[in-house]
């Protein structure tokens, strides 16, 4: 149903609310009283909406909360979601919410939900406004257009930790004129009259665009992707320092979001950065002193362990729809007590995570490593192999190991071998991602594509088993406490039975994944891989000829020993 585009007119900044009302009321009927409302421009943490050419904001009036998303250029409305502020806050505080899922239920929001993914729109700024609606009718009493007058209030004090406060000083009052279909000429006439009477000017898009253009809000440019750009002459130690600096930067950037639990992707990105850093530690082991390696390994292991439990619960809660969908329709609601149990357990795990993250030890460790890797990467080795040679060698060894281990797997090989192969695959992928800028693009993209397919099968094989075990453990835990009410006991019995069915389904899927492995590995272990190995060997040989003799450091490296680092933090 095509809706005519809203026209927006910015009026003279010196006009008061009353003055504009007097002018408008002469030609349109006011509808309802003046309302106070807060407009909150928002975007995902990684600026996905802005990148997709969209501008979104929340409007909050009393307990009503509406999310509106417009085309950044044309101002056309692309999605609208209404929910109460109470519900929004309550849901956000107990479990991970995927805003895109809310949106996907609306007919208009399918493409926008794919833009958002698992990220939620977060406030970029707050703009309190007075707003009043008017309706203009023809002689039949028929509504021919709606007008909304939005009048920014004076800027308020910046609250601690709050989004940027904007106000009258930053944006002039504006009118939004919503034409009714079939009455566009009347709308044009009214717009022209408004411009004359109120000294207004047309603006081509919404107020969010105006705020961006005026520099009052800045779309975020964060990306969790490894965007490391090394040249052919980059030394291995320089590459190591830059890689770790990037990864600890990602951890630091996501740290406040993990604490605030604004969406599950903060924790996800944090954990991916930790895992990548562990892979980088292996890759660059010879570029760091033993003390540094040990201290770093200790800290990364700890970060991985403390963030694991919440992420595990997130995975099940985010998968709720799929898990319920795997059951017959009559049994889907039987899982309610299970998900209630997960929400409670997640809350406990989150409390532990927050207290662990907020300790001085964790904060100091993160800032220490970020500071350490931001310093000058003075070399510890007399001969620096150069990053391209190091990367080629590491990649060749890892790929050879994977191919050798994979070829040994038969139908009778125990599951552990496949799990180990998955770990090797992960290492290979991380090395590949970290060294992409010094490798040939065809080698990287071909290997990465093929590896991803194989890893999906291996991931399914392991995940289905882990999930099936988790469900049975959860069933066991849920069965323990004594319940007084008969209905609660019945619900729990039904939930345990549903978990049993679900667990069986997952084990069936695991068997399917195992059956797919042989074909997928054969596809991975092809001539292209042999060619990749050859290319990598050539690169190594070339690099070894060009080995650069690094300058001897004037001073000793600043790396701290494990005990020294601990002392400093204390």
């Amino acid at each position: 149903m095509p809706t005519p585009s809203t026209r927006r007119i910015e009026v003279r900044g010196d006009l008061t609310l009353e003055k504009i009302h007097t002018v408008l009321a002469a030609f349109a009927d006011p509808v309802g009283p003046i309302r106070k409302s807060i407009l909150r421009p928002c975007d995902t943490f990684d600026g996905a909406l802005h990148r997709a050419g969209l501008a979104a904001y929340w409007t909050e009036s009393g307990r009503d909360l509406t999310w509106l998303c417009h085309d950044l250029v044309t101002g056309e409305l692309r999605a609208k979601v209404e929910l109460s502020a109470d519900m929004h806050e309550a849901e956000r505080s107990t479990r991970p919410i995927v805003f895109a899922e809310l949106l996907a239920e609306k007919p208009v929001g399918e493409d926008i939900s794919s833009v958002l993914g698992y990220r939620n729109p977060l406030d970029l700024a707050q703009l309190p406004v007075h707003r009043r609606q008017y309706v203009r009718r023809d002689e039949e009493g028929k509504m021919i257009l709606r007008v909304e007058h939005l009048h920014p209030m004076p800027r308020q004090d910046q609250g601690e930790g709050a989004a940027t406060q904007l106000g009258r000083e930053d944006l002039s009052p504006w009118l939004e004129i919503h034409p009714v279909r079939g009455y566009l000429k009347k709308a044009d006439e009214f717009c022209n009259w408004c411009k004359r009477a109120l000294g207004g000017v047309d603006t081509d898009a919404g107020f969010v665009k105006s705020l961006i253009e005026a520099g009052h809000i800045k779309p975020t440019t964060y990306s969790s992707k490894l965007s490391l750009d090394f040249g052919p002459k980059t030394s291995a130690r320089t590459a190591a320092f830059q890689t770790f600096r990037h990864l600890f930067g990602v951890m630091e950037t996501n740290f406040p979001g993990v604490l605030a639990d604004a969406d599950s992707e903060f924790l996800h990105d944090f954990r991916v950065a930790v895992r990548r850093a562990r892979a980088a530690l292996h890759l660059f082991r010879r570029e760091l002193s033993r003390d540094v390696r040990e201290a770093l390994s200790h800290d990364l292991k700890k970060l991985g362990q403390m963030t694991g439990p919440v992420r595990d619960f997130d995975v099940y809660l985010l998968d709720e729809k799929q898990l319920r969908g795997a059951l017959p329709t009559v049994q889907q609601h039987d899982l309610d007590p299970f998900f209630d149990h997960l929400v409670k357990e997640r809350a406990k795990a989150r409390a532990s995570l927050v207290s662990a993250l907020e300790t001085a030890e964790t904060r100091d460790a993160l800032s220490h490593w970020l500071h350490f890797f931001s310093s000058d990467p003075e070399t510890t080795r007399e001969v620096d192999p150069g990053f391209s040679g190091l990367a080629a060698k590491a990649l060749r060894i890892q790929l050879t190991r994977m191919l050798t281990d994979g070829r040994k797997i038969t139908k009778r090989t125990p599951a552990e071998a496949l799990h180990d192969l998955r770990k090797e695959g992960k290492k290979l992928r991380y090395i590949l991602e970290m060294s992409r800028s010094v490798l040939a693009e065809e080698l990287c993209s071909g290997l990465l594509k093929s590896l991803k397919r194989l890893q999906t099968i291996l991931g399914n094989f392991q995940d289905f088993e882990v999930q099936a075990d988790f469900l049975m453990e959860a069933a066991d835990t849920m069965n323990r406490p004594a319940l007084k009410s008969q209905s609660a006991r019945e619900a729990r019995t039904k939930a345990v039975m549903a978990l049993g069915v679900l667990s069986t389904r997952l084990m069936e899927k695991k068997t399917e994944a195992r059956a797919q492995f042989a074909a997928e590995f054969a596809d991975f272990d092809n001539e292209e891989r042999s060619a990749s190995l050859k290319t990598l060997r050539k690169m190594e040989a070339k690099a070894s000829k060009k080995k650069t003799v690094a300058k001897k450091p004037k001073t000793k490296p600043k790396a701290k020993t494990k005990t020294k680092a601990k002392k400093d933090r204390a």
Binding site: M1, P2, D138, E140, G141, K142, M143, V180, R181, G182, Y183
Partner: protein
């Protein structure tokens, strides 16, 4: 896009009231709805406060000189649009006679299929070339029946006509309209009719002064008297229709 025609060859049975109130009920549930007022009396157009004026008239539409898209007017209600009628529609039959096939109306609305979830044809009371076109364009014929002998007779005539013309895909859904339960005849017919016609929609629309008041308010009943018996009945009748689609 589901195409529904509110039709009875007899006049004064509540067709226009049904078209206005059912389309409003559909739009209130979030559907994108278009009502095409095909009656030259333009009563639906009047109820929605739109001027009874069609640029180029019926001739412009049937002759293909005007796109329906350009003639659509938004109503005061979100999600509900109207294609108004005017007096030129009195020649619709004549204009359709000049066409080679009976699918002219279907071909006219086909380009709107992605824009709307439902299109309601508010038909004039006759059995004519326009009616034949409507029977071929619509998927469902919603037939208001006043529980009287004559009204039931017209239903049988329409059913027989459709059978003769082999309009097989058309689903016929009659419902009782302007029901006055104080009348013995109404009660008797309402008891006997469903035994022979299992396709009867279960919700009857009462005879109510609030429906007549639509002419004063110029709006659907639920917009100015949402708790009235008639408003509730139309809401429930829309659910019955949804169940049949």
């Amino acid at each position: 896009m589901k195409r529904l025609a509110i039709y009875n060859m007899k006049g004064g049975v509540g067709k226009t009231a049904a078209a206005v109130n059912l389309s409003y009920a559909a739009a209130q549930l979030g559907a994108r709805v278009l009502v095409w007022d095909l009656d030259p009396q333009a009563a639906t157009t009047f109820y929605f406060r739109v001027k009874p004026k069609v640029k180029g008239g019926g001739k412009g539409i049937v002759g293909g000189k005007r796109d329906l898209d350009d003639l659509i007017k938004g109503t005061d209600f979100e999600g509900l649009d109207l294609l108004p009628a005017d007096l030129s529609y009195r020649r619709f039959d004549q204009l359709l006679d000049d066409q080679t096939d009976d699918d002219a109306i279907f071909k006219l609305v086909r380009p709107l299929r992605d824009d709307y979830d439902f299109i309601f044809f508010d038909c004039p009371p006759s059995l004519s070339r326009l009616s034949e076109n409507i029977f071929r364009a619509a998927q469902s014929l919603i037939i208001p029946l006043v529980p009287t002998t004559l009204s039931l007779r017209t239903y049988d005539q329409v059913a027989a006509f459709c059978e003769k013309k082999k309009v097989k895909k058309l689903q016929m859904s009659p419902f009782f309209s302007m029901v006055d339960r104080r009348k013995k005849l109404h009660r008797e017919i309402m008891e006997a009719f469903p035994k022979k016609h299992t396709n009867l929609l279960p919700t009857p629309i009462p005879y109510a002064s609030v429906i007549e008041k639509m002419g004063v308010e110029r709006a659907p009943v639920a917009a100015f008297a949402p708790r009235s018996r008639a408003a509730v009945a139309y809401g429930s009748l829309w659910q019955d229709i949804l169940d049949t689609l």
